[in-house]
Symmetry: C2
Subunit: 376 residues, 2 copies
């Protein structure tokens, strides 16, 4: 038993305030999960992650990318180091993706068969093969609290026929992922140390932008019985209404007592909206990636509208205000826009550090507020 | 009145345990000052600087470089932001160099005359002119607690004749620096806010590697009466014995009741040695620059010998020990060599952050121990 999900309260809109208990601790939901690509949330020290945001509670769960850690430093090395938690000095829950998304988006010369995907490393061009079984072996070696089935990410836009065919492959791979996971899950590095607890494998609903396929995919996965369900293949360029519609249609089918995770979203207003619709977990590189490009999230004064400030603009050169006057994060408490602009313009390493801390605090605080509203 | 220097105890070897009181606070001496080039100690957030090291006291005084801040964002902008302390969110003492060293080492097409130095910016090739008067104006606008006279840095090696000639120019520039500083010091951004306190201008002893010239330079500067004296032009490639000899000869001449600052040193064993000889202040980019190249300071187990570990080496790939098992810094408390190697090899931004924090903690702890020995 590695997962318990308790729904404390469900609002009229479907949003639920819950607690997700995992081998490395409890997570208050709905939750935003910062992305720690190569076992590091880029530019942010782990102790800052733990205490970031107004509540000081910080990030309770973070992601790591299977594809990146498989290539470097290698999953067997991470296993020998005791798993990804010990490797990176992070003792709270973690989630790994299946590696599929990066195989499809980063690597070259992919060859997809029913068996799996052959690809070349984006680092050195070396040849690799990922199958559902191999993804499970890699994720078990990494040892995150939550692992994901290996799925095909269909190109976008895709026809109904192409999407249905891809979805079929995804379902077959989900079944194979589950079979391998069940057979091998006791090999997780912390199995004995945590009293025989194991990781939790989540299924992934696909079906592109077709409501009927989303429904079918969700039904098939629910039959397979996973402890949690992800909704994948969204936020890939489609209009916001479509994303919302696909999430809504899928939520109707998924069981109410299992956590639901929408992968790769989104903007601050999106994570708020989906959280209030009943999505329990979300992740996105946006806050950290935008930060490295000098794009800082803030609310327009006296309004709840979220905007992105481009800190490199000349107009901030002598602006003594914090990024967001209503933000209580450690960056806004100490530094001015003028200073942050100077750091960015000068190419200083501290720029990415401080910008990332602010943007993540902004996201964590947004979800903290949403949880408050759902509980209230 | 902007400076008070109290010597609490002097050891047989000449080392003194003291307290330097400056407009922005007290500094326990001897002290190592991290270098915050462009108003940022590269990759290290200010709150970490404040609490770094085993004692948790952190850095009590840091440097900023006049040349860099003059070019970007510009000293008048920094003045309008309230001075460099407010600009960077650092409320403890600071020191600025004169800009001379960077003009001589970084910029192109220098033309030196008795009047000053014409040079081209290393950033955009634009033409600039620094004189002693201009250096003072810039440093007063920046508003560090300690400013430095504008001096010529002679090339190395240099003949006795060339060194003597350069020293003459340095002395003339020191007198002009002092004159301008006295006339303009009330223009420091925090003059009124700090009850009429001003910055403190330190003289710089030059004289190359010639003991007689060092003595002459020190005597000339003491006649000019500065509140503190720096020893410049050392650690520029000469053997360690020569550095030590030049410091020793200069210390003999300098007054015992004024702080002495050796610029640009050094390795951990050097700052310890010079601290025990009677040097009160030192600065160096070495801990942060080495950190960015993956070079980490540590003591050999069971010995006091300081070595530099090259974290990129393959032998650390699965090394679960901290950098230095006797170090109590936050990096050694949390992260393994294997993880730090992974961050460095993967080009992750967190690598420079954590490596810099460790190396600075190592330096700060070294001086904390030296202060303890001098007080004991």
């Amino acid at each position: 038993m590695g997962l318990k999900f308790e729904v404390l309260k469900t609002s009229d809109g479907g949003g639920r305030r819950g607690v997700l208990s995992l081998p490395h601790g409890d997570v208050q939901t709905p939750v935003f999960m910062p992305v720690g690509t190569a076992a590091t949330v880029k530019a942010v020290p782990q102790d800052v992650l733990e205490t970031n945001g107004a509540s000081g509670v910080g990030a309770r769960i973070i992601l790591a990318n299977t594809y990146h850690l498989y290539l470097r430093p290698g999953h067997e090395l991470v296993r020998r180091m005791g798993g990804v938690h010990k490797f990176m000095g992070w003792d709270r829950p973690m989630l790994t993706d299946s590696g599929g998304f990066q195989v499809f988006s980063l690597s070259k010369l992919r060859k997809i068969s029913d068996e799996g995907v052959e690809f070349r490393s984006h680092l050195d061009g070396s040849k690799h093969f990922f199958s559902p079984e191999h993804s499970m072996d890699v994720q078990i070696a990494l040892g995150a609290d939550v692992a994901m089935v290996f799925d095909e990410c269909v190109e976008t836009p895709a026809t109904w026929e192409r999407t249905k065919q891809s979805m079929g492959l995804t379902h077959a791979w989900a079944a194979r992922s589950k079979e391998r996971f069940e057979a091998e899950k006791h090999r997780v590095p912390w199995f004995e140390e945590r009293g025989g607890q194991t990781q939790n494998l989540f299924g992934i609903v696909q079906g592109g932008m077709y409501a009927d396929l989303r429904k079918e995919s969700a039904e098939r996965l629910v039959e397979m019985e996973f402890p949690g369900y992800a909704i994948g293949g969204l936020a890939v360029g489609e209009p916001r209404e479509v994303t919302r519609e696909m999430i809504a249609r899928t939520l109707e089918v998924l069981p109410k007592d299992k956590p639901v995770y929408v992968m790769g979203v989104g903007y601050p207003d999106e994570i708020e909206e989906y959280g209030k619709m009943g999505v329990d977990m979300m992740d996105c590189v946006l806050p950290t990636r935008a930060a490295r490009h000098g794009l800082l999230f803030m609310r327009e004064p006296g309004s709840s509208t979220v905007v992105r400030m481009n800190i490199k603009k000349k107009e901030y050169a002598e602006d003594q205000r914090p990024i967001d006057e209503s933000c209580t994060c450690r960056v806004c408490a100490r530094y001015t826009r003028a200073y942050l602009r100077h750091l960015y313009s000068s190419g200083e390493a501290l720029s990415a550090v401080l910008n990332s801390i602010h943007n993540l605090a902004f996201y964590l605080d947004t979800m903290e507020r949403v949880r408050g509203e759902l509980a209230g």
